[in-house]
């Protein structure tokens, strides 16, 4: 960052932002949302570091053990799994960051307009935001790297003593820098992607009396929507092909795997198109009371933000449910093929594997949750005047609380239902494409049709976790919102 060139500009911006915040450099770090971005970058880096360390440790353990053998294949499989899992986490983190930054920008409109008025170019303003993204990403990645490495060292010590083995594995490895660098870079990209709106801010918006734009255009370029649709269709076709091929050969699951990745990428890319109607549908569930209507409209006020936020939670829920359903469905088929007796040992191993995978993909859900909390909080901060008006007109503090809670519920319920549906579908496709060719009694004829088996335990856990997430997400924004008094807010 060219600190010298930036200094006067930054000082001016900070002064415009708030007279109380006169710290010359780094004041923007205290802006709401930056902390969450650091947290998100930290979690994904630490997650990457832990996964790499764990798979390295397991490979070292298996490679050293003359009885286990097959170390190389295992290393490869673990490596691929780690990359996929960290990839999902980083992807969700990038979505959260982009969202956070676009929300921060919306709140900074006046300040950016003032800079434009004084003569700053839109592009330099956007570059500044992206630089802040890089700085925050570096801080988060650094923290995540240190904490993740320390945690990994602790865990490996514990594993050695708990498993009564003695694997010498050096925790501090250069490869651990990879997740840190990737996360810092994606945070940078996320900030860049989220700062697109900077370009549309006009100098006129700095002048008093201009009412803030309250409704984002449902953006999403035509190209992106087309790409989303194409990916979704190709993915869907591959999923169907995978199921059909699976009736003859277990390798159908490979086709289905790529179908799953493509179709889900399509869904994510087209989230801005897909989620709002679903969000609107959920809004109807809340009834027609004033609080319900305010909450429902708030959740849809920035369709792009809400959609991206919901899709993060959808990803987490889908992945967890997918593993649970696939695992359960496979067990059902294996049980049937074994003549009704569940193969106990096999079942045990599969449950453990599924549980570990569910735990690992749940990290993405946690990252999405941070983003949700952040979205709701900034949403309240940016709505102070509106809340003040509503308080003046007779919205009680209890009603304020209800609006915020309903707003959180709106996003989480939508994400939960969508995720459950997708998870069951993907899980079933996985099981069907893998085991469609297994012959089961009494006819001993394939193809076998597998009914999607839903394990109620994990699903209940997911539902409860979502409910808890909703409550937690509402705490901070509720506290901020109930503190707003009409007189103060209207004087702003």
């Amino acid at each position: 960052m060219s600190a010298v060139a930036q200094a006067p500009q930054r000082a001016a911006t900070d002064a415009a932002d708030s007279p109380a915040r006169t710290a010359p450099a780094g004041a923007w770090l205290r802006e709401r949302g930056m902390g969450a971005t650091v947290l998100v970058a930290g979690i994904s880096t630490a997650f990457g570091v832990l996964l790499l360390s764990a798979s390295g440790f397991i490979s070292a353990w298996v490679g050293n053990d003359p009885y286990l053998g097959g170390g190389e294949t295992l290393t490869l499989v673990l490596g691929i799994l780690s990359v996929l899992l960290v990839g999902v986490a980083v992807y969700v983190a990038a979505i959260v960051t982009a969202n956070t930054f676009s929300t921060i920008i919306a709140g900074r409109t006046r300040q950016i307009a003032l800079m434009r008025l004084i003569g700053a170019s839109a592009r330099s303003q956007r570059r500044r935001v992206a630089q802040q993204g890089l700085a925050v990403g570096l801080i988060g990645a650094g923290l995540g790297l240190v904490l993740g490495t320390v945690a990994a060292a602790g865990l490996l010590l514990w594993a050695n003593s708990a498993l009564t083995i003695d694997v010498s594995y050096d925790v501090v490895q250069p490869v651990l820098l990879v997740p840190a660098v990737v996360v810092a870079l994606t945070t940078w990209c996320g900030a860049w992607a989220g700062s697109r709106r900077v370009l549309t801010v006009t100098p006129l918006e700095a002048i008093a009396g201009s009412t803030p734009r309250t409704l984002d255009e449902v953006a999403g370029s035509r190209g992106r929507n087309a790409a989303a649709l194409i990916l979704f269709i190709i993915g869907g076709v591959l999923l169907a092909l995978g199921v059909l091929a699976g009736l003859l050969n277990p390798l159908g699951v490979v086709i289905a795997f790529f179908g799953g990745i493509l179709s889900f990428t399509g869904l994510t890319l087209g989230a801005v198109r897909i989620m709002p109607p679903i969000l609107r549908l959920t809004g109807r569930l809340f009834g027609r009371s004033a609080t319900a209507r305010l909450a429902a409209e708030n959740a849809l006020r920035y369709p792009e933000r809400s959609s991206r936020m919901a899709i993060g939670v959808v990803m987490g829920v889908t992945l967890v449910v997918m593993f649970a359903v696939a695992n359960e469905s496979v067990k059902v088929v294996l049980t049937r093929s074994a003549g009704g007796e569940p193969p106990a040992e096999m079942s045990q191993i599969m449950d453990t594997f599924a549980a570990i995978m569910m735990g690992l993909v749940a990290v993405s859900a946690v990252i999405a949750a941070v983003g949700l909390v952040n979205l709701l909080t900034i949403g309240v901060v940016q709505r102070r005047r509106e809340l003040g008006l509503l308080r003046a007109l007779g919205l009680t503090s209890a009603q304020v609380r209800r609006v915020i809670l309903l707003e959180a519920t709106h996003v989480t319920i939508t994400a939960l239902l969508t995720g459950l549906l997708l998870g069951v579908a993907y899980g079933w496709v996985a099981a069907q494409s893998l085991l469609g060719s297994v012959q089961v009694p009494p006819a001993w004829a394939s193809p076998t049709l597998v009914a999607p088996a839903i394990p109620w335990g994990p699903v209940t856990v997911v539902v409860i976790a979502t409910a808890v997430l909703t409550l937690i997400a509402a705490v901070v924004p509720t506290r901020l919102a109930t503190r707003v008094t009409a007189v103060e807010a209207l004087a702003e």
Binding site: L215, A290, R293, S397
Partner: protein, 274 residues
């Protein structure tokens, strides 16, 4: 309502109110709201600011009252306290029959919802609700649908204020003047004891300003709506039946209908004397 209950609870305080009729009521005075010996300070000690200093005044029922004064005269503070938005440091406040000093936040909120209407300078409307949703917001917040009588009233207001073709529009699709008319419709919809207008023309061009002021004046003249308007614009004040002048936290004059020239002259004289 809870008016009686709160009076009882607070009865042991400053005045003995156990015997009805010992004090004449706000309504008997022909007032929609009144304050007695009202004071409001911000901060304490040397650095403290006294925004209101022993103000006693009533807003007459059915009248359009303007509260004039330069910036920092305490006019906004007076309005906020009268409207139950802020609590006084000392003194008492009544809206209609209800003494509101000492009411809890919840009681105050419900009272505002049912018995006070608001028109602010800007940012009057909830951006996510359409025009009709904004007008019926006080009813929705109260968890009830307007009665047939109230619906007729709202319909009448929508027509009078020329909003018929706009009921399904969102605030950002309306001009400043139209937004202000929606705010007036909302403020009048519940037929409140009192409508408070805080610089309602502050953000408008002169044509929209005249329109808004004429609408407020008509509401009080034709429907007996009590209105208190805070303003520092002499033209706006000239539409009112009565003009109260504030200076340094006190009422400095209380005059019947004034022309804009008279209001200006008075303000200028006060400014020069200060």
């Amino acid at each position: 309502m809870y008016a009686g209950a709160t009076r009882g609870r607070r009865g042991g305080g400053r005045t003995v109110r156990s015997v009805e009729g010992m004090e004449i009521t706000t309504t008997e005075m022909g007032l929609a709201a009144r304050v007695q010996n009202l004071s409001k300070s911000y901060g304490a000690g040397e650095s403290g600011v006294r925004a209101l200093d022993g103000v006693t005044v009533g807003i007459r029922r059915g009248e359009f009252t303007a509260i004039m004064g330069p910036s920092g005269s305490g006019k906004s503070t007076l309005m906020h306290i009268m409207a139950g938005l802020d609590a006084p440091t000392g003194g008492r406040v009544w809206i209609g029959e209800t003494e509101i000093t000492g009411l809890s936040d919840l009681e105050m909120t419900i009272l505002r919802r049912r018995r006070v209407g608001f028109v602010f300078q800007a940012f009057n409307l909830v951006p996510t609700l359409d025009v009709l949703g904004n007008i019926t917001l006080p009813f929705d917040l109260d968890g009830r649908t307007p009665s047939a009588l109230e619906r007729a009233r709202i319909d009448g207001l929508i027509d009078t204020l020329g909003l018929r073709s706009r009921v399904r529009h969102r605030p950002h699709e309306l001009s400043g003047g139209q937004q202000q008319r929606v705010a007036i419709a909302r403020a009048l919809a519940t037929a409140p004891d009192l409508v408070f207008a805080d610089e309602p023309t502050g953000n408008l061009d002169s044509r929209s300003s005249r329109e808004v002021l004429a609408l407020l004046a008509a509401a009080s003249r034709e429907h007996g709506q009590s209105i208190a308007m805070v303003t520092h614009d002499p033209v706006a004040a000239s539409h009112a039946d009565r003009v109260l002048y504030l200076g340094d936290g006190r009422i400095v004059a209380d005059k019947p209908r004034q022309s804009a020239e008279q209001v200006s002259a008075f303000m200028l004289a006060a400014e020069v004397a200060a």
